[in-house]
């Protein structure tokens, strides 16, 4: 592996404190030193990072790379490259594939494809139940041995409290967290959008906020009873935030994530039935969005997750009821959050960077988020002042459906390094994917 020196960047080391201008030396894929005015005799490559932010590479705890089985939507390769273009150095991919990632062989396939993808590291999450049917636990031990970093049924809540309890207990033998889509499935069934005045106006079946509240309350109660490790995926309501806050105060081992769309967008954007706003859980009213933002700012929600869920053009080009939920997010997450939360004054840049790297890494118990000597050189270089317009046609992802299309944003990832190797950079090969 080549050696590399990043000169004069603003280094944001989340473990140490305030950002400072410094040089960062990478040797053998690892961070060798971070200091100002580093004297280095010879180095393979030197990069002028002045004016750029040098931060730990982003860790996405929740993405759908759709392979095996849904390669028309995304492949592990295209997804890993899209992740790299968004500044992610690690992406955890969900098991809702076809076949479901519920046996060691399929976990092994994802790991192998990921290692060949030439983008972000790909870490598989395995299904919690066989076939994601919520009936029988998968072989957590075998799955973890094959490379799974967590278990969860991805987008489906576990209806049986008994199975959920057993999973929370059993997972402790293997040191992995349980990822849940916490929702009362029966109450949520058929819901297309948040239940409220917007669903009434549009005549679409509503999904009540209380479905998420019940799911989160139950799963926290079970995590407390089982002393298990629970990671709550894509929180969208004020009530769920309150439940998580209480759980944390009581010392329950929970972490939570929120997506850029739930952090920034409200359900009244659905006025024209745009399927690029159809997501799960649904977009919520402003009071919920503010609560989720507040929770990300104060750390109640420690992770940003993209819930990157590519869909084929044809799937989204349907009447609202018939179109699947899901939007892409890997290539826009940082820019939209930087634009609206950091520049909008809801949090400072180090906090956002922490929620996009250290927070998720700790939640999942994987490496990432730190720039200490000896750590893997998983890094992102950011131009915080660059302005650009989100253009889905430029995405490396095969998915194009995003609610942020056409949005003018500030701040862009200019280079992503995994283990010291540049896996993406603006203006190089692959060519610049960022317009303007």
């Amino acid at each position: 592996m080549s050696d590399l020196l990043l000169r004069g960047g603003t280094v944001v080391d989340l473990g140490i404190g305030a950002p400072r201008v410094a040089d960062l030396l990478v040797r053998g894929g690892l961070i060798e030193a971070v200091a100002s005015g580093l004297e280095v005799e010879s180095v393979g490559e030197e990069i002028d990072a002045s004016g750029l932010v040098v931060a730990p590479g982003f860790v996405d705890p929740h993405a759908h790379l759709c392979e095996p089985g849904w390669e028309h939507r995304e492949t592990i390769r295209s997804g890993a490259q899209a992740a790299a273009a968004g500044g992610f150095t690690t992406v955890c991919c969900m098991p809702d594939t076809d076949p479901v990632v519920d046996d060691p062989a399929t976990v092994g396939y994802v790991v192998a494809e990921g290692s060949r993808a030439g983008g972000a590291r790909v870490l598989p999450v395995a299904a919690l139940s066989v076939g994601r049917k919520g009936e029988q636990l998968t072989e957590f031990g075998e799955l973890v041995a094959a490379g799974a970093v967590a278990v969860g049924d991805a987008g489906r809540s576990v209806a049986s409290s008994t199975l959920m309890r057993l999973a929370l207990e059993y997972a402790q033998s293997f040191g992995v967290p349980l990822l849940t889509h916490s929702e009362d499935a029966e109450l949520a069934r058929g819901g297309q959008v948040h239940e409220g005045v917007v669903s009434t106006l549009l005549g679409l079946r509503g999904l009540p906020a209380v479905a998420e509240e019940i799911g989160v309350l139950r799963d926290i109660a079970l995590a407390r009873a089982a002393a298990g490790r629970l990671h709550i995926q894509r929180v969208s309501t004020a009530a769920a935030v309150a439940a998580i806050r209480r759980g944390l105060e009581r010392g329950v081992r929970i972490t939570a994530e929120a997506t850029p769309h739930h952090l920034l967008l409200t359900d009244d954007l659905l006025g024209d039935y745009g399927t690029e706003y159809k997501v799960s859980p649904p977009l919520r009213p402003a009071a919920d969005v503010e609560a989720v933002q507040g929770a990300l700012a104060d750390g109640t929600i420690a992770c940003v997750a993209t819930d990157h869920a590519p869909r084929h053009y044809d799937e989204k080009e349907q009447a609202f009821d018939d179109a699947p939920h899901g939007v892409v997010g890997l290539e826009t997450a940082f820019a939209v959050l930087h634009t609206h939360l950091v520049r909008g004054g809801a949090m400072n840049l180090p906090t956002l960077l922490k929620r996009m790297s250290l927070g998720p890494a700790r939640a999942l118990g994987i490496e990432g988020g730190e720039l200490e000597r000896g750590r893997r050189a998983d890094l992102v270089l950011i131009d915080p002042a660059a302005e650009w317009v989100v253009d889905p046609a430029q995405f490396l992802s095969k998915g194009r459906s995003t609610p942020f299309a056409g949005m003018r944003v500030t701040g862009r990832v200019v280079r992503t390094l995994v283990g010291g190797e540049t896996v993406w950079s603006v203006g190089e090969d692959p060519p610049a994917r960022v317009s303007r």
Binding site: V198, T200, L201, L202, L204, E317, Q318, A319, D321
Partner: protein, 323 residues
Amino acid sequence: MSGGKTVLGKDLTGLDALSTDQIRAILDTAEPMKQIARRRVKKVPVLRGKTIVNLFFEASTRTRISFEFAEKRLSADTVNIGSVGSSVSKGETLVDTARNLEAMSIDMVVIRHWSAGAAAFLAARIPSSVVNAGDGAHEHPTQALLDILTLRDHFGRIDGLKVCIVGDVLHSRVARSNIHGLTKLGAEVAVCGPRTLLPAGIEELGARVVNGLEEAIEWADALNVLRLQLERMQDGYVPSLREYNRVFGVTSAHLQRADRELLIMHPGPLNRGVEIDSDVADGPHSVILRQVTNGVAVRMAVLYLLAGGEALLAEAASEWSQE
């Protein structure tokens, strides 16, 4: 076709999207259309040479036939496509169906679809005019227009009228279109029904919630009684049809207690003995069949205006040649 510069714009997808003036233009234009139905030769050449496709993804008898009559009376050429026995039942997508029709140079599509937003979806993707004949639980604008026209015929005004919509508002596109249309024209609107069938935030659409049929009858000038789909009982929204009829069914006993004139409307088809008793549906308060008559006139007005016609008043029809 006129290319979109019509009184109504290119399409009619719902009353929420129309201005008060546009709604009035349709109602006024329906007046001369009524006269055409009374003629010996019920046909004018206004849409001669225009092609209209009636694209019904969902079963409908009344609305489809009403549109067809309206089209034929305006001399349009029409094609009916239902979901059974067409490419729709072979899995063709809505957008492909529409584009294929478009390729055959049509002028208008009248669409009924189970999915809310389907009419707007189509309207955004084809240059032809699109008329919403009911999209899921969203809107059914021509039904509300004929309801409003019937009210105007009877009361001579809409402004200040009190109209209560009774029944399954949650799943009703008729209710939503009526709320939008009536409130824009200055009527007061209330809804009445089991709480399970009243949607969240309905007050924010401009409708007050009244608690029972007694209160509704005391308050309203007119009741618009919605059909209770029998599936609602299977889905658990109401425990039994018998109880529904007892609590929310409109009976002649109710009307005898009303201290003033009360108009009874129903969009059809009737569930006699469920949401409405036969003696009410067939009784002196009922204007249900006048609604059906007005349906053709309102739909003629909508098609005529979307084809680029100017808003008309009653006298205008006499100027049209009779074929």
